[in-house]
């Protein structure tokens, strides 16, 4: 459904992605793993249009999207929930959710209300907090809000960047449960995570990155058993 082909991305003098290729098929959860600095976030930001590749292509249903602006890509149905949650601090939970529909033109009021109701069912805490300002929410609540807001866009594909970052273990479980549920509901997800075990437990397939390259890929089941995944994070004991 969407594909990244041999993408090279640089920030100024630093080459962050050195020719990566991956694909995400409809209905899947695909996870992108690797240590900090491996290039996972850079990959998501290239897909969502915040960055543009020097070489290579990003294709959505066969159409190249890598030259489009972030706003245009959002309109194509790609919803990016970035690292660090980024809820709008001065707006309420409800307002954040409403803005989640900004990628669609002519949003019908009743449909939007139905979507919001659906979000509240998925995240009951948010309903309680619907008039609370973004900055007053706890980390976990903000993460839930960010995900819900991403879903309001009725995306074809949801890009999630480190949803578990900074969350206490119990909340991490909750977040991943929700992600699985969203996928069962039909949303395709590309998930970037440092918490490899969690991510692999709910994904169909996974890719492992190291310094801007993909070094390992395969069905999640296989990767869970594969000791090389551990090496990508904790070193292989192979001295440099």
């Amino acid at each position: 459904m969407f594909e990244v082909r041999d993408v090279h991305v640089a920030y100024g003098a630093v080459t962050a992605l050195r020719g990566i290729s991956l694909e995400v098929r409809e209905g899947e959860i695909v996870c992108l793993l690797g240590a900090n600095g491996a290039g996972k976030s850079t990959t998501l930001r290239t897909v969502s249009g915040l960055l543009h590749p020097l070489r290579g292509e990003v294709l959505l249903d066969g159409r190249p999207i890598h030259r489009l602006s972030a706003e245009a890509i959002a309109k194509q149905g790609i919803s990016h929930v970035p690292e660090g949650r980024h809820v709008f601090p001065g707006l309420t939970v409800r307002e954040n959710l409403v803005l989640g529909t900004s990628n669609q033109s002519n949003v019908r009021r009743d449909e939007m209300e139905a979507d919001i109701a659906r979000m509240f069912k998925l995240f009951p805490d948010l309903e309680r907090l619907k008039h609370a300002l973004g900055w007053t929410l706890s980390g976990g609540q903000q993460q839930m809000l960010a995900i819900a807001r991403g879903l309001m866009a009725r995306p074809q594909i949801l890009l999630m960047d480190e949803p578990s970052l900074g969350l206490a273990p119990i909340l991490v479980q909750e977040v991943f449960r929700v992600i699985k549920e969203i996928n069962i509901g039909g949303t395709t997800i590309l998930l970037v995570e440092q918490n490899a075990t969690m991510a692999l437990a709910i994904s169909h397939r996974g890719y492992v990155m190291e310094t801007g390259r993909i070094v390992l890929q395969g069905p999640a089941r296989d990767l869970l058993q594969n000791p090389q995944v551990r090496d990508a994070y904790l070193g292989g004991g192979k001295p440099a």
């Binding site: 706003e71 959002a74 919803s79 970035p82 709008f88 601090p89 803005l99 900004s102 990628n103 866009a153």
Partner: protein, 299 residues
Amino acid sequence: MPESLSMNGQLLFAGLAIGSVYALVALGFVMIFRATNVVNFAQGEFSMLGAYFLFMLWHGLELNYFAAILVALLIMVGVGLIFEITVYYPLRNRTFLPVIIATIGASIMFQNGALAVFGPSPEKVRPVVETTSGTGGIMLAGVFFDYQYVIILLVTVLLVGLQYLFFEYTVLGKKMQATSQDKDMARLLGIPVAFMIALTFIYSSLLGGLSGMLVAPIFFVTHKMGATLGLKAFAATICGGFGDVRGAILGGLALGVIESFGAAYISAIYKDGFSFLVLILFLLLRPQGIFGEKVAEKA
């Protein structure tokens, strides 16, 4: 009514009225700053341009006064847009120093452009409520309520109210707030950020122009009027808390009142200096202003 009480009432009223003008200009600053993190040193010039356009249309082209106001406001929309495209947009990714300098350059251009076109003699514009003896008013409880001042206050209250309603209750207002709070996130949601910013500049230009038209009948219209107005409004935003809407309004009003009383009780000659003295005091003692947060840099 004892004379001092009515005189103080007078000073208070006048101070609030002029302070309202400062508040409107200050609001223009704050809007642009919140959306783009840019301090627009040419904000005062928007007021000056508004006043001159009104003068040109009403006196020069002899349009109906109220029609002239409308047309002048329309022209200010254009000014705001052109300003955004030529001054802000090319520099939007540079550090703040080039942008400050560029807006200073724009300010000089506007001021001296007006000087070149209209000449140095101050011009007079009629007040909104025209009476036989210039600007009239009513006497209430020993205080003379000048009509123009009353109108300034009313317009300011109306505008601030409308602005509040717009930002609180419309989706567009929310989108603009979102753009101010987190530009990249807004883009990721599909919000047309460039358009939001253009709207912000247009709005600030309208605020500026309107404030200039309101204050024109009281002071004369000169090419310099924007400079003092802008600087005082800027002082108001800093004292109120930079980037804070309440701060801009409160700061503007307070500064107007301080000036009014200062000129009467301390010195009329140095009237313009009071704002700057208050500003310096705030900058030294409490740079974040009344409503602002501490300024700090992250590693």
